[in-house]
């Protein structure tokens, strides 16, 4: 009993998924760049108005990152949820599909971070940024864009595995956990320590390790859920 068709390698299957993901590039590539371009133009117009009015340059301006973070969270959700049934019907395994989607997320993060960095470079905002180097800024936004997509996919995977009841239970549990943590931090005076952990340069290495670990756990959780999801 042998298969009549030769089989493809895992690398080839991941490439297939990536190409499937980018079959409709509008939502994944074009819209993020449109957001970048729109915010860039708004900032240019604002600066023009300020200069016309004789007001000295202010450091405040619309930032692209929050918009893109929200957008990528939603588009990552849509990508996974909408393409999963088609991919599974057309002979892909859940594992190959998930690995392919994670690869696509990395490509999207790379492209969008490149756009963000170019705009930041043009606007000369890098001087006020720590670490004050383009590479540092690029790495930071790439990381943020990738993390938010993986987080979105994992939350979506809860829905795909257990539908509405699972998502509701997760959100309720997450809310209770967050409130409990906030109350405990307040009661035991831990907010200063949390602030230092989040923002102090002394803890940069710890922070990166914690974030990497957290993202790895989130990505693995997404995989565990997708493995039992039904289209």
């Amino acid at each position: 009993m042998t298969m009549t068709n030769p089989t493809s390698s895992i690398g080839a299957r991941i490439r297939q998924v990536v190409r499937l993901n980018f079959l409709y590039p509008w939502t994944l590539v074009v819209v993020p760049w449109l957001i970048l371009a729109a915010i860039f133009l708004v900032n240019l117009v604002l600066e023009g108005i300020l200069q016309t009015e004789g007001i000295a340059r202010v450091s405040a301006s619309f930032s692209t990152e929050p918009f893109l973070i929200v957008y990528l969270f939603i588009s990552a959700n849509a990508l996974l949820y909408q393409q999963f049934p088609l991919a599974i019907s057309y002979g892909l395994s859940r594992r190959d599909f998930y690995l392919g989607v994670l690869t696509s997320y990395s490509i999207i993060a790379l492209l969008t971070a490149t756009g963000s960095t170019l705009i930041a470079l043009v606007r000369g905002t890098l001087q006020s940024f720590e670490p004050s180097a383009m590479g540092g800024y690029f790495a930071l936004v790439f990381w943020a864009y990738l993390a938010v997509q993986i987080l979105g996919a994992a939350i979506n995977a809860i829905y795909m595995r257990w539908r509405g009841i699972g998502l509701f239970t997760f959100l309720a549990a997450a809310s209770v956990l967050m409130i409990s943590l906030a109350l405990n931090f307040g009661q035991y005076g831990l907010w200063d320590a949390v602030y230092r952990l989040l923002f102090s340069t002394d803890y940069a290495a710890t922070r990166v390790s914690v974030q990497l670990g957290f993202l790895l756990i989130v990505a693995l959780s997404g995989y565990v859920l997708i493995r039992r999801a039904k289209p």
Binding site: L20, S89, Y90, G91
Partner: protein, 297 residues
């Protein structure tokens, strides 16, 4: 013939309901199999289990000797065209064709293009804006043009008009003749597909109640009709699948009627006819229900 799908004691239970109940059968390479049964009989669940889309409760499924669940090499030999396939919201027909072209190494773009024209499908229209029949036709195009070694259609014709359905059967058969493969077609339009099928699996209430070659099955049953007293004399020598009395007249579907019994019946003025596949399956499945009701009472 080579067995490529082997299912043993397969069971799927959903909160107390056995959608598939201890099913065993085999599927051989290069043949057209009909998975027939009433609505809710367990056809879709069975196909979802075979293609690794649903998770079994018990039993064993082997495709090419491997469990298909999450087995990439096995899964890429299969195309499963579902009755209610969900497509990405922004996908147009051409995106679906390109997706299939990406994922199936035997994809025939020329054949797909011809089929799209035959079914008059607008390639630039969003999937969500197609009529039910057009969306079904897109599935049919992918199912045929992918030329996957195992092609599974789950009621692929929903919403398709009679012309489109006939076109589907014709093109499927033509392509199958040129490039034989294993096709499983789930349907309840039995008469329409009867001439396509090499083998029939009938599922009812989650159980396979018939597993037979189509020709063998056709020859296995007859309809006998005439005065009740004469017809019922033959009931002792054969299995009665269905019997209907209209006054003193009886029409029955029976199996295992010997050649001598047929000759004798004809001599006595009774009408003996072969039964269609649909008649046979209706009598089989309604018989199962009758037996169960009787047992319950």
């Amino acid at each position: 013939m080579t067995k490529i799908i082997e299912v043993q004691a397969l069971t799927k239970q959903y909160r107390g309901i056995r959608a598939v109940d201890g099913v065993s059968f085999t599927v051989e390479q290069d043949g057209i199999y009909g998975l027939l049964g009433r609505n809710g009989a367990g056809k879709t669940t069975l196909m979802q289990l075979i293609t690794g889309q649903a998770f079994k409760t018990a039993g064993k499924i082997d495709i090419y000797g491997e469990n298909p669940l999450e087995h990439s090499a096995v899964l890429e030999q299969i195309v499963f065209i579902r009755e209610s396939q969900r497509y990405p919201e922004n996908f147009k027909v051409r995106h679906v064709m390109r997706a299939a072209a990406l994922l199936y190494r035997n994809w025939d773009a020329n054949l797909a293009s011809d089929l799209l024209k035959d079914f008059r499908l607008p390639t630039d229209r969003q999937m969500g804006k197609l009529s039910r029949g057009q969306a079904s036709a897109v599935g049919v195009v992918v199912g045929i043009a992918s030329r996957a070694p195992i092609t599974i259609f789950d009621e692929p014709y929903l919403g398709m008009d009679a012309v489109a359905r006939t076109l589907f059967y014709d093109r499927l058969l033509t392509d199958y003749a040129e490039r034989p493969r294993t096709i499983i077609l789930s349907t309840h339009l039995i008469d329409e597909v009867a001439d396509l099928l090499d083998h029939v699996l009938v599922i009812d209430q989650g159980r396979i109640i018939l597993d037979s070659g189509t020709e063998e099955l056709r020859g296995s049953a007859s309809a006998i009709e005439g005065p009740s007293s004469l017809v019922k004399e033959f009931f002792t020598d054969c299995k009665v699948l269905e019997s209907q009395d209209i006054g003193s007249y009886t029409r029955a579907v029976v199996s295992n009627l010997s050649a001598s019994a047929v000759a004798s019946a004809t001599q006595q003025g009774l009408i003996v006819n072969p039964v269609s596949l649909q008649q046979l399956i209706v009598s089989q499945t309604s018989g199962e229900l009758t037996n169960e009701k009787e047992a319950a009472n």
